[in-house]
Amino acid sequence: MPGFALCSTLIGFGAIAREAGFDIWMTTTTTLLVFGMPGQVAMASLYASGASLLLIFIAVCLANLRMMLMVISGSDLLNLPQHKLPLWKRVLLMQGMAITGWAQLGFKQETIAPNDLLHYYKGFAATIYVFAISGTIIGFHLDNLIPEHVLRIVIFVTPLYLLLLIINAKQTTNKLAVVIGGTLCPLLYPLAGDWAILYAGFVGGTLSAFIIRFASLRADKERS
């Protein structure tokens, strides 16, 4: 399912990149090196609209700052510091850390033992990488062969699937963060543009962390 969802999303990216004038090598290299859909779409559509390289850089930076948080959170889930891997191996492993892999880890942490999670992640990341590259190539070449009404539904599945995964987060703090961040971001977007992601993430994450912390401290106090 994650592979299918990611493949279909990247079909969408392949189509957008071709429309923007990129060739197949540039499009595939983008998926290979960036491996983060929102940043890739920002790059291709901004280029198509005639934006400067500086603006493209800033937009991708803003769209992908979350990668740092996901890498920290994902390393924690995988117990990575305890595995004592060399830096290059950690960097290589974290290249596969994007929304799909990270959300899947959060979902699977309940059913897979912490020590096996790294093996699971390696296999999972490698598989979704293959699906992502395949989707990009298919989208670039076969866009016209997939009927538009099917493509629309296929592309709708990815954000739907990932939102369903993260709303099911184990910790209440993270659930609340999803609700606040997810509601706030589209509301702020008309006012703040790409900065809305940072504002909504900061407000949603901070509020939920403090609310749940405060609530659990109060519960502890009442108990004692």
Partner: protein
Amino acid sequence: MKPDTALFGISEMWAAVILAFVATFMWRFLGVMLANRIKTDSFLMIWINALAYAMVAGVLMLILVYPSGILATTPLDYRLGALGLGLLCMVTLKILWLSILVGMGSFALAMYLL
């Protein structure tokens, strides 16, 4: 679409691809460097996790509310209605495949029937 011009000897399009890579890789690298320094059960880690969840939810909602490409040709209330049904199913029944089916199915039905 703008014409591909040369910048410092490399095509401007390749420059855009490389810049997008740098703008993403630097965050991942920073994450790898910081990951070893933050304690698992600290409040800082709880906060970072919450920030990541809120930010990812924000990005995904932006894709749904302000889509680019072909999804932009679908009505906003269909997209949000289908998401709402999927979420309701997930929160109440906690069955992932069924929730995806409900969300995707209701979106497809709305597109064809309404």
